[in-house]
């Protein structure tokens, strides 16, 4: 025993006991020292007593040992008591300037998604980030955010994040890694050069790219690969094909009167999505005096949110999109497109109409290809935009924002080949999760095993960490220094709001360890990089300015003068001609958990996916016709087989889905990476090949045995009845622009609103503020940003799949989805529903304990402390906006989640009703500030969380007693109406009817006329 045990062998307790029993006298103590020295034992200590681990004395005599053992026993007993520890609140000795307890501070930082940055302002309460908002001053920002940015707060505090450095599963230190990796790579370098491979996601960060460059310059045999599972593969391939080099197309919709989307969900996907959404919605909004709208034509292979707003929607199979693009190009006289074939059926008329509109609006129109459309679609779009003279007005080509543009699919394929050939010594995987999301046909996981040293940096110990010797915990962006570029190239700074919670470090730091200088802090690296770029002169002042603003001014990417080559168009037209028969399989990033990176985020898991309203799972989406033909029902398992790879997943019938095709969302079926996401859904990557990242043909689909329960927040059994009843009740009111011009009052003829004068009692006079809210249904894209923003602002708990399936989800805003028209080609309407704050609220009179009462500003307030939970209010609420804590949903246990909560909002316990409060905490905060200045609140000073997050500015909140406020002006509009007004509830939340702008004389309402039968369907 006194002799060393073989390193790496497991410490068997029984073994140790037996050995200890054999020892006597002094030898025993020496043996214990020996034991304490082993790494296994250290790990054991780390697990059980993290603090004491470091202070294990070097030598212990018998007396001391017995004392310690006795004391441990006694103290161990003590800790088992449930008595609350004494906690003292200690004030700051040196109060930091500007920090006032109770008053949040905002810092500019950036959220990076798919490589591209969104400028943010992060709200910090006493050093804890609790909420993020868009940075309105950012040149590439809109002040809005998407659901991913909103949910990133939960990602920061996620207790499942990786918390320790591990080597082969054993706990090590960062210093251990820095030293070890340096030694390893230097040793390799000494023998003919280290064959180092760095694998990252898409990188736009100039500092990180420079750091990678530096590392590679020191190890010339190294290479850098990028792979983003839901990356912009088609866009970059098309750029090289059409222009011969890498540029990026940026779309400016501020002047785009005709928008044609070719399989493009440009409102919710791609780096410019927030900008697109805002500009598109602005041109669409009808307000007094302005009666013009843009018009959207949308071809789509999988139903998307953009398609739901389309004036003319054309559902086609994925392989037919390019054909539509080619036919459109031919009609518009694109050089090289004359060989395109005409399409038959409704598609021809659709294309003719779109082409005519585009031609009539040359220079004021845009054709946008989708991120998941084929490269040939992108090429054709570039050519069409050129022909229409849109380039320079609505389309700009800029030098690549991505630091090193590459064909990522080829790059990862090459990496796997090299690994298999044994040509890689060290593989560093920074971010991403290739063992899970690399194309299934490559065999990435098996290939990694042929690499000597595998190092992995990520937020979670996930599937990829399993295949690496070293796992390093990554810092969350809210804990990091760094930079990244926004979609127009503007450099945005990432500054930390908090020290790394779990000891994570950034990729910059992990890489710096390999360089000559050794490990450096990220702060220094970022400053040094930009100091080098702009010079030391006045750098400190500039740096402070940048940090304050969140971006570096005038760093947008320069324009690139490129034109599409005719050969590329010809190639694209030729490629477009090939359409396969049989069933097609579409891969799309998941609308809430994206490529799987947000799988452990409960907010996003529970956020109802647009259209399907599914939570916690993905499903094989297929058209009603296909389901009928194959006799498949909702939730029934189906088997999908592509090139010998197969997957069983539950079916979900999606109205409006093109026939003979199946859509599968990526990101589910995670095996590792946190207890929230593990075991949810089905792994679509298992079917995905490198050549066909978005569309697989030759798929066999067969019903399989069994079924799988899916949790949808809207009943799915009776879509038709639901739609019919919604129409009868005039919940979503729609019309066309023409109708509106002819009868501006048409909305008011739809429902019945009682005369407010007819009442038993005189109405209450609101002589101060009177809060109200209006939602523009015409602008709402159903993107869910408001849902998550509200969840973050108001400490709304996550309830889990079982509870959602029972109908107990807790989100305060829901986005109601209604189908109208035929199953094969329905119109889709989104209606965000939050509390209506009825002036005559049905909930208030039935509460027996006065726990829900009316404020003198017209808010319907919930007094959580007073609520006993009779649920009578929820029964009597016609809008069903009340949410009940049936069980203890809020997590009162996990300490780290307490830091995340908004301190201005009560965390609700079980047995209590809750609902939208119009963000009353924000109203009160603003009111206090205004009162200190002895002034009235200004319009726009109070913004609700949903309003602030909304990318399309579809929600407006304010004082309806002020006739000049934005909300008053909205409510003055002829399109304004309240839902269920006939109940005389007098809702403070009202809606602006949704208008469509179909092409005059197109014979139907496109997708949206009230009488539309939706007959523009591909034959």
């Amino acid at each position: 025993m006194s002799q060393g045990r073989p390193a790496g062998a497991r410490l068997e307790l029984a073994d140790v006991r037996r050995k200890l029993a054999d020892q006597r006298g002094r030898e025993f103590w020496r043996s214990l020292d020996e034991l304490a020295g082993t790494e296994e034992f250290e790990e054991l200590l780390h697990r059980e007593f993290p603090r004491e681990a470091a202070s294990w004395p070097e030598s212990v005599d018998r007396r001391r040992f017995l004392q310690l053992a006795g004391a441990s026993l006694a103290l161990g007993g003590l800790t088992a008591c449930t008595r609350q520890p004494l906690e003292k609140i200690v004030p700051y000795v040196d109060q930091p300037e500007i920090l006032v307890p109770g008053q949040p501070l905002y810092y500019a930082t950036s959220f990076v998604h798919g490589g591209y940055a969104t400028g943010l302002l992060a709200e910090s309460h006493m050093g804890r980030p609790t909420k993020v908002e868009g940075n309105p001053d950012h040149p590439a920002g809109t002040g809005a955010t998407d659901l991913f940015a909103q949910a990133s707060i939960l990602g920061l505090y996620d207790p499942d994040r990786s918390q320790v450095v591990r080597e082969l599963g054993r706990i090590r230190t960062w210093d251990g890694y820095f030293q070890d990796s340096r030694e390893t790579i230097r040793a390799l370098d000494a023998v003919g050069g280290a064959r180092l491979r760095i694998l990252t996601g898409t990188i736009t960060s100039p500092t990180l790219a420079a750091m990678i460059g530096k590392v590679l310059s020191e190890f010339p045999r190294g290479r850098w690969h990028q792979y983003e599972a839901a990356g912009r593969h088609s866009a970059s391939a098309a750029s090289r094909a059409a222009f011969g080099r890498d540029v990026e197309a940026v779309y400016d919709l501020t002047g785009a009167e005709i928008v044609v989307a070719l399989d493009a969900d440009f409102l919710t996907e791609g780096p410019g999505r927030l900008q697109h959404a805002r500009d598109f919605a602005r041109l669409r909004r009808i307000r007094r005096g302005k009666t013009s709208m843009n018009r959207l034509y949308s071809v789509e292979s999988a139903p998307t949110l953009t398609g739901t707003l389309a004036d003319h929607r054309l559902p086609v199979r994925g392989s037919e999109v390019a054909g539509v693009a080619a036919a459109l190009a031919r009609r518009l006289g694109v050089a090289g497109a004359s060989g395109a074939s005409e399409l038959g059926g409704g598609a021809a008329d659709w294309i003719a109409a779109a082409a005519e509109d585009l031609r009539a609006h040359a220079g004021r129109s845009v054709v946008i290809p989708g991120e998941c459309a084929g490269a040939e679609v992108h090429t054709l779009c570039h050519a069409i935009n050129e022909v229409l003279k849109n380039v320079g007005s609505t389309v700009r080509h800029i030098e690549p924002v991505v630091a090193e543009p590459s064909d990522q699919l080829a790059s990862i394929t090459e990496l796997v080949e090299d690994m298999n050939a044994g040509e890689v010594d060290v593989l560093m995987i920074l971010g991403g999760n290739p063992a899970y999301d690399a194309p299934a046909d490559l065999g990435f996981k098996e290939a990694t095993l042929k690499v000597g040293q595998r190092i992995r940096l990520s937020l979670y110990e996930d599937e990829t960490s399993e295949y690496c010797q070293w796992h390093l915990p990554a810092a969350h962006y809210l804990e990091s220094w760094g930079d990244a570029r926004a979609h127009d190239g503007t450099v945005s700074l990432i500054q930390p709001l908090i020290e790394p919670l779990y000891g994570g470090k950034t990729a910059l730091e992990a890489l710096s360890a390999l360089t000559e200088e050794g490990k450096r802090p990220a702060y220094d690296l970022v400053r040094e990089h930009w100091g080098g770029v702009v010079g030391a002169d006045g750098f400190e002042q500039r740096w402070r300015r940048w940090l304050h603003d969140g971006y570096l001014p005038e760093t947008a990417a320069p324009e690139a003068a490129v034109s599409t080559s005719v050969e590329a168009v010809e190639d694209a037209v030729a490629a477009a001609a090939a359409t396969g028969d049989g069933i097609e399989l579409l891969f799309r990033p998941d609308p809430t958990i994206w490529d799987g990176r947000f799988a452990n985020n409960g907010w996003l898991q529970e956020c109802p996916k647009p259209l399907t309203k599914l939570t916690w799972d993905n499903a094989a989406l297929l058209s009603p016709a296909l389901a009928e033909r194959l006799g498949i029902a909702n939730e029934q398992m189906v088997e999908l087989t592509v090139e010998g790879r197969s997957l069983s997943a539950p079916a979900w019938i999606q109205p409006g889905h093109p026939d003979n095709s199946v859509t599968l969302h990526l990101g589910y079926g995670r095996r590792r990476g946190g207890k929230v996401g593990e075991g949810t859904g089905f792994d679509a990557y298992a079917l995905r090949a490198a050549r066909t990242p978005w569309l697989a043909t030759g798929v066999t689909l067969s019903p399989a045995a069994g079924s799988y329960r899916l949790a949808s927040t809207q009943l799915h059994s009776n879509i038709e009845l639901e739609g019919r009843e919604a129409e009868k009740r005039h919940l979503v009111r729609t019309g066309t622009l023409d109708e509106y011009k002819k009868h501006p009052e048409f909305v008011h003829h739809m429902g019945h609103s009682p005369d407010p004068e007819v009442a038993l009692f005189p109405a209450w006079e609101y002589d101060g503020y009177a809060w109200g809210l209006a939602v523009d249904l015409g602008s709402c894209t159903g993107c869910n940003a408001c849902v998550i923003a509200c969840q973050s602002e108001n400490n709304i708990p996550v309830v889990g799949k079982e509870q959602v399936a029972l109908g107990r989800e807790m989100q305060w805003i829901r986005i109601d989805r209604y189908y109208q028209g035929s199953l094969d080609h329905p119109e889709v309407h989104h209606q965000p529903v939050m509390c209506m704050h009825c002036e005559q609220a049905p909930c208030e009179i039935v509460c027996p304990v006065a726990a829900t009462v009316h404020s003198d500003e017209g808010l319907n307030e919930m007094v959580y402390n007073r609520c006993v939970g009779t649920r009578y209010c929820a029964n009597n609420c016609p809008y069903k906006v009340r949410r009940f804590n049936f069980l203890l949903y809020s997590d009162f246990e996990t300490p780290v989640l307490k830091m995340m909560r908004n301190p201005d909002v009560t965390v609700r316990s079980r047995g209590v009703m809750e609902k939208c409060s119009y963000c009353v905490q924000r109203i009160n905060q603003a009111r206090v500030a205004a009162r200190k200045d002895r002034r009235q609140l200004r319009d726009g000073e109070v913004r609700t969380a949903c309003q602030q997050a909304c990318p399309t500015e579809a929600i407006v909140f304010g004082d309806i007693n002020d006739p000049d406020s934005e909300v008053s002006r909205w409510k003055e509009e002829k399109l304004n109406y309240g839902i269920l007004e006939e109940l005389n509830t007098r809702p403070r939340t009202t809606y602006l009817a949704k208008l469509a702008n179909p092409r005059p004389g197109s014979g139907n309402g496109g997708g949206h006329g009230p009488t539309s039968e939706g007959d523009d369907h591909v034959g």
């Binding site: 009179i845 027996p848 009779t870 009578y872 069980l887 079980r910 047995g911």
Partner: protein, 454 residues
Amino acid sequence: MSVDDRMVPHKPAVIAPGHTSATVSDQIGEIVFRKTPRWWYFAFGGSFVLVMLLLMALTKLLVEGTGIWGLNNPVGWGFAIINFVWWIGIGHAGTLISAILLLLRQEWRTSINRFAEAMTLFAVACAGLYPLIHVGRPWLAYWLLPYPNTMGMWPQFRSPLVWDVFAVSTYATVSLLFWYVGLIPDLATLRDRSRSPLKQKIYGMLAMGWRGSAAHWHNYETAYLLLAGLATPLVVSVHTVVSFDFAVGQLPGWHATIFPPYFVAGAIFAGFAMVLTLAIPLRAVFNLHDFITIRHIQNMCKVMLATGLIVAYGYLVEIFMAWYSGHWLEQFMILNRITGPYRYHWWALILCNILVVQLLWIRRVRTNPVTAWIIAMFVNVGMWLERFVIVVTSLHRDFLPSSWGMYSGTFWDWATFIGSIGLFLALLFLFLRFLPMISIFEMRTILPKGESKS
């Protein structure tokens, strides 16, 4: 000796011939004093097991929360409210029999009023449990009571749930008093007849020094009559207030002015069904054919038939009003009840509460205890279904189709319901064992005096 058939034509007797004061006292009192029969242990044991189930369900409820039930977002009320209304309705028959029939001088009520009153009391106890436990935070349910407190808060008096608190607590109090006052002379009889000193002490204490003097009888008669007068409006008011829980809400299917009378009729309907359900087996087991005669059964069947027709009228008016109002929401609600996902519940309700009850038009069905009992069981089930249909089918598809949902009871819902039936039965068996289930002294008053002396 025998009742003169010519004097009371076509009316079977309310007490069998041949009884005297002594035989009445003997036969009824003997039930309490004789050795506990074996079946009693089994019956009580069985219901005690169900009480344990109830306790288990309640413990689970208090520890975990209302979420153990099947409630969800559109359907905020479920089994707890259904059971509450069901139990409270059952109680009504007891009050009706003892108070209203007393005032109307219906002598035949005498042999059934005692256990009908006991049934009322136990049903109200079961009913009273539900409003307490159905709230999200039961430990704060006392906030519904108006009491001076440091919060400076009163209940919100516009809420029908507050009215409920008053209605049900008044009802429980009056029912208890009425039952207990009525028991006093019999407790004295038991005191006098019991041979064990312990029993003498206990019954003696409960009898409150009753000696049967003329002054006692005078006071007793006055008090009993006054209580009957107090209890009479309660028969109407309690279920009226309970119906307000729904009628005040603005939900289609709840918001109807017919609810109060329709609920009261339903309550009496359900109550008589329950009295029959209990009386017919008891009569057989305790050999009480002499006291609970076919005439009683027949009379109760007639009341059931009459109230059943009122209830049927209520259903028809609901459907008629949906059509007549021309309101799409009302129409949708009715159609959804009849053809929607809960249509089987609705049709079962029609079968139990309307169709089966029509058999009572036939004299042979009314006078046969077995058929009467079977029909009463149908009504018990039907009235539970009625409340299920009102509560659940109105809520599950209301105004916004986006928020529609489905509801079904979980194991714990059923455990609580069945457990409360166990509680009811356990209390009933204790009552049968330790107190005279038929009023001895009142039975003496209906003895056919004139003839017996001849």
